[in-house]
Symmetry: C2
Subunit: 385 residues, 2 copies
């Protein structure tokens, strides 16, 4: 096991009816900004429940945070936070709203242009506004971690930052609020969580038995429950298991003391920035090819994955590995998420712009061995056509 | 899944060399009391490493906290904390030292007799001194939870409290510091962690798939690594896996959203208080009989345990269940912890005093269904002779 430093102070209130707890969780007397995305929270009852819980609070609203939240939108929120002396933020939505809120929480304390957070690799975040979240879409894990991804539309850049100052103080997870999600978001969410686990699990062995077992437990649960979540939109237990899986997939726990990959994510970010694919779509396209391309480096863990997650024990090693990757692709397809660039209308001409972007963003030494060069990424994209 | 409220802000620094981090973790200018047990930390190098890290701090020592830390000892520490204006505590040791430190941290803020914490079920804990820990014995999980058990020698009472005010701010876990533990403490630690998991896992199904998989992952790891820890005293990876298992066994995670039992612990506490058995010895004695006595109520989870943890799939249900319980006993014995009252010189005459103590402490509606009456406990003890 590698040395690690694990810290996660976010309080999770999980279950039906928990939104009412906001009345006590948000500090009395706080000037609250509630941040959200499109109009879905007005249709699924979440908006009304949140407002009912906060009748004794002063609440200002900031809607319109888009998927892949944009710098351009978020700086407007920061200006409003400053102008209105907001001292508590409440993110109500999915990972994009929460990521955006983290950027606002940190950016509101800076005098500089908040884009400096990326340029200074978070070193200029010395404090952040406190905030909580009400999660409506299980996927990114942002509700219980300190990471955030923001897109600058004007330059087509998708950048990320991490800071222990931007852990949510609390997150409310009510699985019944996910019943009304469209299938595409359910499928994307499951694929996103699955890929998060794989980025921390499918590297090389360091004899971290608990982390491996936990990662495998999450993968098995997503494989069992993901298709059920699509088939039965109002099964509370299924939605509960998916929701808790997605949180635990990226709250730091399974990644503590093990190597990380994240090459799939970095290539995927460029696909989203350039071609507007959903985040999960990019992961479904890249991950299987990345595993095939890195088969030798990942052999031991691929065999473990084949056996413990897919029950593939017989046959020669390469056959088991290929079968496990094929099962992974089948699973993504079953979740309604295509695994080829062609599924999204992208052909060979789409590849070089991605490589150019990776090079521009210095993403040319990726993966757990830092050997996923631009050339390897090109090969992976070609394998994903 | 049941509704839950999960919160755990303890920072974990894991790995060799982490004790040096104390220099930055303990607030500059703090007046520190370092609490510890017997002399083992002076022999295994921990004392020297801690002191080397804290050369810039004012450190007062309080040694002699005993296994099953006593109220009588801890009130002396509280008096000293008050007299010396201590504002940070550092527990260096195992679960007993850490439990004792939690009692000191909370008790130091009270004007009343700190025993009132138990009588008021922690309601009078409105603040506590901040503290960190350096763990030397993987077992109780106290390094990453908010619970504490204290024994009042004069009345032979073993009582517990929980409060979110007494989470350690940080805990340092260096597996290499466990190499020098005597086999009895290694075995006890593994059995203690195993029993903690079972109390939260082996109840009845609520379709909490992640929690079940995580619990099973921890049990499997302890079964694989426990005997290795006894056989190879300086295998860093093995000690790492055992140490992280013990922490995760009782940090709130696997218990979130599922029913809890704890009847084995409550009966076990009385055995320790009356006959001075080690805590883990009492668990090894009671747990198997408790599982047998509650076979019908626990049937579904016993079958799941038999299959997923012990790989027992064939034969009729009752055979599988009995085999799984027998394997559990074998495992405890392999860890050097006897599973019969007779192993500790206790005969039938030992039972009624335990029942009387359970009744005196109102421990007569135990277990996940609150139906482990004094009569059931008597039966369990008889089965454990």
């Amino acid at each position: 096991m590698l040395n690690f430093d694990f810290y996660n102070p976010t309080q999770i209130l999980f279950g039906q009816g928990q939104i009412a707890s906001l009345a006590n969780l948000v500090p009395a007397g706080a000037r609250v900004m509630m941040l959200y995305g499109g109009g879905s929270i007005r249709q699924n009852g979440v908006y009304d429940e949140v407002m009912a819980a906060l009748t004794d609070h002063k609440v200002l609203e900031f809607g319109g945070i888009e998927p892949n939240p944009s710098y351009e939108t978020l700086v407007r929120a920061i200006a409003q936070v400053k102008a209105e002396n907001i001292d508590f933020l409440l993110a109500v939505g999915g990972g994009s709203v929460i990521d955006g809120t983290k950027f606002v929480a940190a950016g509101a304390m800076l005098d500089d242009d908040p884009w400096s957070i990326f340029e200074q690799r978070s070193a200029n975040i010395v404090s952040a506004l406190p905030f909580g979240t009400v999660l409506t879409l299980p996927a990114t894990g942002s509700e219980m971690n300190s990471g955030s991804v923001v897109t600058r539309k004007s330059t087509q850049e998708k950048r990320s930052f991490m800071s222990r100052k931007v852990f949510p103080q609390f997150s409310i997870l009510d699985p019944s609020k996910t019943f009304s999600l469209p299938p595409r978001q359910v499928g994307n969410g499951v694929v996103d969580a699955f890929a998060h686990i794989m980025e921390q699990y499918l590297t090389y062995p360091v004899n971290a038995k608990v982390q491996d077992r936990f990662a495998e437990g999450l993968l098995l649960t997503l494989i069992e429950e993901g298709p059920q979540a699509l088939a039965n939109t109002d099964d509370y237990d299924v939605r509960s298991n998916v929701m808790w899986c997605a949180t635990l997939a990226l709250n730091g726990l399974i990644g503590a003391g093990v190597p990380h990959d994240w090459a799939t994510h970095m290539v995927g970010h460029e696909l989203t920035a350039l071609y507007n694919l959903d985040h999960a779509q990019t992961l479904a396209v890249i991950l299987p090819s990345m595993l095939r391309a890195r088969k030798e480096e990942k052999r031991a863990k691929l065999l473990q994955y084949a056996q413990r997650v897919w029950g593939l024990a017989g046959g020669d090693e390469d056959t088991r590995i290929e079968a496990a990757i094929a099962r992974t692709e089948e699973f993504f397809n079953k979740m309604g998420v295509g695994t080829r660039l062609g599924d999204y209308g992208l052909g060979p001409e789409s590849i070089e712009p991605v490589i150019a972007a990776l090079e521009a963003h210095r993403m040319t030494r990726l993966g757990e061995h830092r050997d996923v060069t631009a050339e390897v990424s090109r090969k992976v994209l070609q394998m994903s056509l």
